[in-house]
Amino acid sequence: MAIFVDDSTKVVVQGITGRDGGFHSSQMLAYGTKIVAGVTPGRGGQKFEDKVPVYNSVKEAVQEKGANTSVIFVPPFGAAGAIYEAADAGCKLIVCITEGVPTCDMVKVMPYLEERGVRLIGPNCPGLLAPGIAKLGILPTSIVKEGPVGLVSRSGTLTYEVVYQLSAAGLGQTTCLGIGGDPVIGTTFMDAIKAFNDDPLTEAFVMIGEIGGDAEEQAAAWIKENCKKPVVSFIAGQTAPPGKRMGHAGAIVSGGTGTAAEKKIALEAAGIPVAERPMDIVPCLQEIWKK
């Protein structure tokens, strides 16, 4: 079992005929993900890799093929529109990989999703990989391994780094989830942590945070009160200068809030070990898990 996905997950890929959308759809298919349809307006009737039907709209993909989950690879100017479309068509899980989506677009899309009970992951995220079940996004499949550890991260490639080390140490994963580092995202740290806490197969989990915002502090407070599973953390950006945006729209330290040091204090105060280096995460986890 995993969080947010299961055997009934049927995927439609929005932007399947684009360069990145096509490449990663192939990867997802190769991993066994049930991609039942693709969508590119104007390309309806074509087939992706001679097997996945392409439709002009998500509505058709849902009606014809029963898609219930969308993975979005469309350019930033169309990303919010693609999210609305997927939600309106009835998808209950949407993973938006697109980087560079205007924040005001995301602010507006959020209540639309809430009204329809739709879970969004992203935007500007690597998505989700539940080893042995499905890959929704761009996490490299070669590094994952089935097992009892959950992983949630605001980062993309740093997630891969940690998953790689977990797998190398024999610690397989229930779900690896990159939620993205933009200011406004669908599924938050807190949402993921609650889901891991409720998931019977997840025995322990790892939180990869970064500078900016206070999602880590909130998560720490919640974990302290509610979570009995072992948790370890890592925070990127200890050396980031204040006031500068570190790639992610979210990764910016402003006016003494959102620093790595503050987050570390909050996490440790909640009893969550914070690894100094990415390579320390696995040893940290092994240490507290044995207790």
Partner: protein
Amino acid sequence: MNIHEYQAKEIFTGFGLPVPGGKVATTTEDSVALANEFGYPVMVKCQVLTGGRGKAGGIKFCETEADVRKNAEAILGMDIKGHTVKTVLITPAVDIESEYYVGMLIDRNTKRILLMASAEGGVEIEQVAKDTPELIFKQPIDPRFGLLDHEAMDMGMRLCPTDIKKARQLASAMQKLYQAFVHSDASLAEINPFIFTPEGRGHAIDAKVNLDDNAIFRHSDYEPMRDLDAEDPSERAAREANLSFVKLSGNVGCLVNGAGLAMATMDLVKYYGGQPANFLDIGGSSNPEKVVNALKIILADEEVKVILFNIFGGITRCDDVAKGIIAATEIMDIKVPIVVRLTGTNEEEGRALLSKTDLVPATTMDEAVKKAIELG
């Protein structure tokens, strides 16, 4: 993208906010001419993209032409926190009876635009937030309905409980600020202070707007607002090449894909006693040209003694990165050692391509960082 006060005021004026007239000058003579045009007293305000302009002596009240001449001359060319003043805003000075703070930003927790306002205007709002957070009133705005009349009025009356006319002006200013925020795709918009004259007229006498970089593509009219002088040349080159880059002062040039991994790489360089020369995220795209551009930007810094690639391929494919590195080394005459760590999607293909070169390979992040520091 941060813009100057005078540019923020232009946006505000377009949405009907009450902004005192004003024009910019780049010379003392022009400053004096503008002041004479407006009549005295005027304010001479340095236009630099940093806070604390007043404390640094960059904002002066001038009652006479001689005042303007003296102050404009002093301010133009002044260095404020590393920014050279090239432009001043000349604006009629207004009598101030009371000052308020009105601002909006994106609130991650509510996922909404958050209106914040305080009767403690004219001072550093961060300080108020820290010392007396109860003096800052907040109203998250539902994007489906906008800032409603009663929500704005409620805020206005909290700021001015005893003067309905002022409360109404504040409420109206908040609603206009919201329009300005969403239509300009801002990430921050502040009026600090919003003042009332002794006659009870409201004015936005300072303005700060940060625009969402992700939305600039649909505001071609705002692109000319970008102050190219205020950017580090390497940061500008990076932006034009669509790379996320921040210059630092070390010797290890870092090229990493992904902001999180890039920060973690910087952290690790420092952990092992080295100094990162930069933050650079080559992004999620797998365009080989980006690597060439990135190398050019980093190598333009003569302090850089070693290049460290840390690539974990997800959406970026390792073979593309490898091709980019090879293309770059063919075009450029790179004198510093290059440590390359490639893992993830298509890593075998990538490593195979690089094996024919004299780049320094590394398997893990730790190994790569240690080798780079050693070679740097």
